[in-house]
Amino acid sequence: MVEFQDVSVTYNSSGVDALNKINLKINDGDFAFVVGPSGAGKSTLIKLVLKEIDATSGTVLVNGFNLKKLRRGKVPALRRTIGVVFQDFRLIPTMTVYENVAFVLRVIDAPAKYIRSRVPYVISLVGLSDKAKCYPTELSGGEQQRVALARALVNDPQLIIADEPTGNIDPALSYEIVELLKSINECGTTILMVTHEHDLVRYFGGRIININKGNVDFDEVVGGVQNES
């Protein structure tokens, strides 16, 4: 569960008000699309959830943690409940695809045996089995994005946040990726996906949150084309 109560964010360095008194509640098991123009504050919203930045004012609750009161030492515990696909991928260039995915499990001290079976499975889910031994620089943009997605999925988190997970992927694959996220959502994982691709949103429907200039403009459940047919 993610809840924003009157949350504002102002970046000191540029003086930009990225979010203005946002109120938003995403329940466990929701699937929400976050849309909005460039610079609206979508990535800022995600940074808040990860406690990468702190809210200038207001309260952020994530998976039972009150982020304002969360001590430094507890941040890893919070982050282990969340899987993230970053807009700029953030893969570790010195690790292979396999290692990039596996080390998330090593971080949570998973048994070696589990790692050996889980990682190849997740990599196959995103269709990269034959690239498992490549380094990120040897992959195309779309392939890197899928590695980032595999990394977000691998430790079966309560909440998956994806910032433009289909930004570098061709349409056919984009649909497959959202289908994948949908099926994960059906097993109870909350999913928050930032996207610019209105086609995708129109097709799948569901909860759509539109952010504009730091405000929530629109927040409703919309039927998708997919379900009509």
Binding site: E52, R79, T94, V107, I108, D109
Partner: protein
């Protein structure tokens, strides 16, 4: 933490050495040079101390005994001299011995004269060595108050020289060693900070997927420790090489040693154990702590 995880982290540290070979090599060089220089400076200081204490042992106070002293008076005097705390050794040097010694030290021409001397004009003397050369003048003053002491001759000017030399050496040694220690720390912390800086993205990403600080630090720690140990071994070998080179030079030119009246240098074998332990400990600690401390800054994400 599970054994398998620990094994993984240690393995990461080991492979990190090769992955970051450039940075690692820089750290290695700096550690090696620092250890080598501090080590050689310390060894030099240790040997200088030994040489100086050797010279100290040889600097004697001559106590000239009055002509009118009997054998009993001399014995009495010896007791009094022994009671003085700063007196280390004491030996009697009779007028006959003094005469022989004097003849020995003369040139042919000079000796020619003394052949005709009918009486030995030299006095009996006690020759003392002192424990602490720096308070020698107090000691001689005290001796001159004793009965049957005609006069004392102490190598005051030579003692002054020795004291000055020791003072200069210790100032230089302390300055050199402490400068090197400070400099090494600055350089090492800078290099490791640079190494961590080059990997800050990696650290950053790890933090985002929920890695604890320990998880991130252990590989750096292992890496730093290994580099430190290897540098220590390298420094040890080079120290051995340099030390034995110098040692052999000094051993060959025995003339110098005779003239300077110095004890022999320590052989490397005598020093091997403490030197090895210090090098390895210093290398491992500086490497490990240096590397892992500098990760701290980037862990605050």
């Amino acid at each position: 933490m599970k054994a398998s995880s620990l094994r993984y982290l240690v393995h990461q540290g080991v492979t990190g050495i090769w992955k970051n070979r450039m940075m690692t090599f820089a750290s290695f060089c700096i550690l090696l040079v620092s250890l080598l220089m501090v080590g050689l400076a310390s060894l030099t200081a240790i040997n200088l101390t030994r040489i100086i204490s050797g010279i100290e042992d040889k600097s004697e106070v001559v106590v000239v005994i009055s002509d009118n002293a009997t054998k009993e008076n001399e014995k009495e005097l010896e007791k009094h001299l022994k009671a003085i705390p700063n007196v280390h050794t004491i030996s009697l040097y009779t007028k006959e011995e003094a005469w022989e010694g004097m003849l020995d030290s003369m040139t042919e021409e000079e000796r020619a004269f003394f052949k005709y001397a009918d009486e030995n004009p030299l006095p009996d003397t006690y020759r003392l060595t002192v424990k602490d050369i720096e308070i020698m003048s107090d000691t001689t003053a005290q001796i001159e108050t004793l009965d049957f002491v005609e006069s004392t001759q102490s190598p005051t000017s030579f003692a002054d020289v020795l004291i000055s030399i020791r003072r200069i050496f210790s100032i230089i040694a302390v300055a050199v060693v402490s400068a090197l220690v400070v400099v090494s720390l600055v350089i090492i912390s800078n290099t490791t900070r640079a190494s961590v800086f080059a990997r800050r993205k990696e650290i950053n990403i790890m933090k985002y997927v929920g890695a604890t600080n320990a998880f991130i630090r252990i590989p750096f720690f292992v890496e730093g420790m290994i580099v430190g140990l290897v540098a220590a071994i390298g420094a040890l070998l080079m120290t051995k090489f340099a030390y034995e080179g110098v040692y052999n030079i000094f051993s060959d030119d025995s003339v110098i040693w005779v003239i300077m009246g110095m004890k022999k240098l320590y052989s490397f074998k005598e020093l091997l154990f403490p030197v090895s332990i210090s090098y390895l400990a210093a290398g491992a600690v500086i490497g490990a702590v240096g590397t892992s401390i500098s990760t701290g800054k980037h862990l605050k994400v």
